[in-house]
Amino acid sequence: MSESATPPDEAAALEWRDVTVTYGARVRADADTARTVAVADLSLRVERGGTVGIAGESGCGKSTLVSTVLRLLPRSADVAGQVLLDGEDVGAMTWGRLRAVRWAEASIVFQGAMHALNPVRTVRHQVAEALELHLAKAYPTDAARSARVDELLALVDLPAAKAASYPHELSGGQKQRVMIAMALVCDPDVIIADEPTTALDVVVQAQVLEVLAGLVRERGLTLVMISHDLAVLAAVCERIVVMREGRIVEEGPSRRVLDAPEHPHTRELAAAFPVIGDPASRRPARAAGEPVLPTGDDAALLEVRDLVVDFRARGTTIRAVDHVSLACAPGEIVALVGQSGSGKTTLARAVLGLQQPTSGEVAYAGKPLPRRRAALTAYRRAVQFVLQDPSASLNPKHTVYDAVAEGLRIHKVADEEARVRQALTQAELTPPEAFFGAIPSELSGGQRQRVVIAGALALEPTFLVADEPVASLDASVRGEILDLLLRLNRELGLGALVITHDLGLAWNIADRVVVMHQGRIVENGTCEQVLLDPQHDYTKSLLAVVPSALEVRA
């Protein structure tokens, strides 16, 4: 909270005083006339050179809060209270002053670097654009601007040669670093990073966090960072603020918040990102010691034999899956982990028969899958798919009933309604009738994922392939969905191949962990074996960069 004793001449770099932000009815689809309160009477002070992390679930108002700093909110938003940037009230600034302040004094690194860069301009052009707009006097010539761009890229550990590339030629982490370089163009005092690492995998995330932490250390920047992951914040920030429903529920030094959270909501957030090796966060479907159904090649329900998938792109062949063999026993939960680009999604698509393998085969119950799509019908009833983003994997125009019944209609199954009712009940959407007429946009993220799962359950499958089933969900919902998967596993004997880049998720639920790297399986063993006693170097390096393992900033 703000310290009222501070003399006015020693203004904080950034301060919110009793800020309340409400949105007009227009942002909500269901013509609710009441204004939605996004931030409620919040005060927060960030000292010069301070680093503050703001944590919270989506919808808790954290993005709205930081958007007030540069007045980036839509017109339907109404801001009350004061936002002081270096002692100056942002709300009282003229447009000309605001334009000068944006970027020069405070700049924002947006989430989703993939979409924030212009795809048809080179990196150099885009970084130089900000120089041209704000610092035309200091860097009057193209050569001077170019030199400055190289300097900025060096700050974020990118070679100057990368300046000539277009965004699509860069990896996600490189793009995010370009975004950070752009934020540094005018040497701002305050940098606001809105979920800078959310779309990145663990290895790249660690690199980006390292760059941010280094900049703060060396240049004395003031940093406000938003994330839903406490461990990520702790790796860069001194202080963590936890928000819920527009209010601060907990605030304190990073280590204290992470190690001894006081508010139940903070504990909930912390629990969603399990510490690998912590028995409390491991919740396997079976009690320890209870044998998993017999494993071994002859007992395998789903088997991948020496599978190769090649993609041809502009004359070159890319081998996405390289001679992979894998067997999943009935009722077993297997986690397939690896970085993005490791070929795990391609492997999953091949397992589902959505991707034709170049060589090798997938076998179900001992029989190889037919190559013709029409002959796959029986297989597709038995093995179901749960996709990463539940809002994208439901047709926005179809009702919940239609979405769940889709598989039943495709397979011409009788007593459709009873089955839909049962599937929704199994997915814990009760009473099922209440959800029949709803369309996806009326549901929360967790409910949507339950609908997707119900759609899979309607066909009474024996195996589930889930591609990052909780990656786009909030901390509390994440736990619920995982519990649901485990309960289905226990009660229906439903096995699952869970694809994820999140080792914590694997630790949460998996019986067995398979590590994939550059199209090959480098390690395969029980969860404890692989995660606690990794043999392969790649697994070790993955485990080293898991946020909870990163060093907490003192």
Binding site: R380, D389, K397, I410, G437
Partner: protein
């Protein structure tokens, strides 16, 4: 289909109708169009067909507009207003029928070209390209000379030559829909081509096709007039295009008999304008992106 679905669709329809009514130009166009359609339907009782037969006319040739003949008479002594009403029937019929034909072909081919890959797609795309680059008037002229002359020949000639641009638009929309995750989910559930096209793609491209339709009707009416004016229409039916042709053939246009030239010309412009206004408004209602740029 459950009751809730229908209820929501009805509510959606009501909302769209209200939205449409807020576009004044679209509303004016719609009202005028309804008026023209009603007049065209009422043509037989208002102006009996026999009264337009050359052997039955009592009026003089090229009469100036008067109370007896509000728009005067043509070179055979026939009532221009009566011919205009009968012409509306032909023009609207050809406009609607040709558009329907072109939309059906365009939607089916466009969806197929977007959905299928490899050889099928390549072949379909080349067919679309062919119809896109061939001058449609020339093709229509060739078709209407090859086929027996008549109103339906004109319909076919226009329908077959004007679907290519619709197909391209539909294909683009199909491609964006097919890249969505719910299509992947559907495939994993075991859906075949028919299911994906019918349940997911078609409902998504329909609004686009509908908005395109109203714009295409205007173009089809112009094409009909052009073909009739060039003498490729059915000589036994009255249409606005054939009225213009007759006015030219009998020298009315050069003799200063303006009432034989202006009414059909203005009628064409008016109806096409109405369809364009309605089409624009409909497009804005159905496409929220355009709505915000109003």
């Amino acid at each position: 289909m459950s009751a809730a679905t229908w209820q929501r669709r009805r509510a959606g329809l009501r909302e769209s109708a209200g939205e449409f009514a807020s576009y004044r130009s679209g509303l004016v166009g719609a009202v005028l169009l309804v008026l023209v359609v009603l007049l065209a339907l009422a043509a037989p009782p208002l102006v009996p067909r026999e009264s337009l037969a050359v052997t039955q006319v009592t009026a003089d040739r090229n009469e100036v507009p008067s109370l007896a003949h509000l728009l005067g008479t043509d070179s055979s002594g026939r009532d221009v207003l009566g011919m205009l009403l009968w012409g509306a029937r032909a023009s609207l019929l050809v406009g609607f029928a040709a558009t329907a034909m072109s939309m059906v072909i365009g939607t089916v081919v466009g969806m197929a070209a977007g959905h299928f890959t490899g050889l099928t797609q390549g072949a379909l795309m080349r067919v679309i390209d062919f119809f896109l680059v061939v001058p449609s008037l020339v093709l229509a002229i060739v078709l209407s000379t090859v086929l027996a002359s008549g109103l339906w020949t004109i319909v076919i000639a226009i329908g077959v030559t004007s679907w290519a641009s619709t197909a391209r638009v539909v294909r683009a929309q199909t491609l964006t829909i097919e890249s969505r995750a719910y299509i992947e989910r559907s495939r994993a559930l075991g859906a075949g081509d028919a299911h994906i096209l019918g349940r997911h793609v078609l409902p998504a491209v329909m609004p686009l096709v509908l908005a395109n339709t109203t714009l295409a009707v205007g173009a089809a009416i112009i094409a009909e007039s052009t073909l009739a004016f060039l003498g490729l229409g059915d000589p036994t039916t009255y249409s606005w295009g054939s009225m213009l042709k007759r006015a030219l053939d009998t020298g009315a246009a050069t003799a200063g008999f303006w009432w034989q030239v202006l009414p059909p010309g203005i009628a064409i412009v008016l109806v096409v304008l109405c369809f364009t206004l309605v089409g624009r408004a409909l497009e804005s209602v159905l496409n929220p992106v355009l709505r915000s740029h109003r």
